[in-house]
Subunit: 260 residues, 2 copies
DNA sequence: TAGTGGTCTAGACCACAAA
DNA sequence: TTGTGGTCTAGACCACTAT
């Protein structure tokens, strides 16, 4: 690993540093390897530690690095492609949904925002199922599924436990599925994990996440709202609308750059 | 705007600061308003400017703030919902594609990555159309569409100008459309704008973007690869698979939080 | 105990926009 | 010219992990 001399360019040092590091990483490091520590790197490039960290921050945001306190800075594995679609991921009642882990299930009056997004009156009872999505054994996302009580007419008196083992949650999911979902509308945006999500994701607060908001419809009316937060560092959301040619082992480094 | 006393909590100062600022912003500020300057805010909260900036960084990543050098820090407008789907956005030949602006169109040997993703041999000629996506007059995304030469058999000798006025680009798009696209496969991930994209987006390098990679298929084979980078600060990508109930004027603040 | 990344400080200077 | 955010520094201390 060479030591750069950081040319006197008009671009910020940290950005130039990032570029140098990208090249170095691609050329001399591979997944799982540990970079020299920050103080070492900083002195090697002749910059303050804070400046070096600014460059590392960028690379971490891009999912190229993982930093572990007490350990070091490692080269991250390529992002995992996570299918986002009711069919592919084995939603509610589906069989292979072993990649979901129920967290809890509560019934409460809808908050203003939830009510708005569900098209119901604020304060109306809403059942909320929280669960985690696992991919390759790793926690990749949290999800809160909100279903108005009015949609599940005869929800049996299932104990709406907090921290339950998942049985009540599955009950809600199963009933929702039975309605026959015939429409989904999604949105994806960038966000940061608040305290709740951060704990579930086992990440520090402020971790960047991809927020996926899904509206489920049945017979032309909204029956559910799911808000999922995916770890932005390790996830690549995939929306396979059709069984398309699978030629994409592009697990190289860059997400297939711009025009060459 | 109150001045916080920053309780001695076990959480980082900058994170607590962020929380305080979120509350303050929601309560006392509205879109377009300017926050007190950083030095002022820092002293008001009794922290170093760097710490305050760390909190502002978070809020900017969330799309709640916009910082303009020489001006100040403003409350950002709610994110714009941007439909991502061939039909809805009026792709290639469509009429209402006035929201696209051609940048240039070049033909060159495919890079290794592009070739891989397109399932062709590296070095094979690929036509690349670059264009910008405008929403409400604002540049929201850049797109590079790569089409193998072998897919467009008799591409007339259109001048593949760099910085052209868009005519050659439209030609490629039209021909591609004529093939009959019958499949799309997408992925979304977080990235940062490199130099090229940054210039086109009129943003500084390192700007967070949502990278949308789309594979287009026709008659079972890949005919195109589009790599779009959307401004993560101002965009909310929407994937409306069906004409679903449009009840979402949830342009409040939070992207519809977790369980209440 | 030693080594790592995470947080925080106080200050300096620069680039940019407006008056 | 003034005020703003953007960059950079040198140093301190903390929290965590391994040994």
């Amino acid at each position: 690993m060479a030591q750069g001399q950081l040319a006197a360019v008009p671009e910020p040092k940290y950005w130039h540093l990032r570029t140098v590091l990208v090249r170095t990483i691609d050329a001399e490091f591979s997944t799982g390897q540990i970079l020299p520590n920050e103080r070492e790197l900083a002195s090697r490039f002749g910059v303050a530690r804070a400046t070096l960290r600014q460059a590392l921050d960028q690379l971490e945001l891009e999912g190229r690095l993982v930093r572990r306190r007490g350990i070091g800075t490692l080269i991250a594995a390529p992002r995992v492609g996570v299918p986002v679609s009711r069919r592919e991921e084995g939603w509610p009642g589906a069989a292979r949904s072993q990649s979901w882990r129920s967290v809890d299930c509560v019934s409460a009056p809808a908050s203003a925002q939830i009510a708005l997004a569900l098209g119901i009156a604020p304060g109306e009872t809403v059942h909320t199922v929280r669960r985690l999505r696992l991919v390759q054994g790793q926690i990749m996302a949290t999800e809160s599924l909100h279903v108005p009580d009015s949609v599940l007419p005869q929800l049996p008196a299932v104990p709406h436990v907090v921290g339950g083992d998942g049985e009540p949650a599955r009950s809600v999911l199963r009933r929702l599925e039975r309605l026959g979902i015939d429409g989904e509308s999604r949105s994806v945006e960038l966000g940061v994990a608040e305290a709740d999500q951060a704990v579930l994701l086992e990440r520090p607060p402020g971790t960047p996440v991809l927020i996926v908001t899904t509206q489920y419809a049945s017979a032309g009316r909204l029956v559910g709202l799911a808000v999922s937060t995916y770890r932005a560092d390790t996830c690549k959301l995939t929306f396979g609308e059709t069984g398309l040619v699978e030629v994409t082992p592009v697990e190289a480094q860059q997400p297939v750059g711009a025009a060459s």
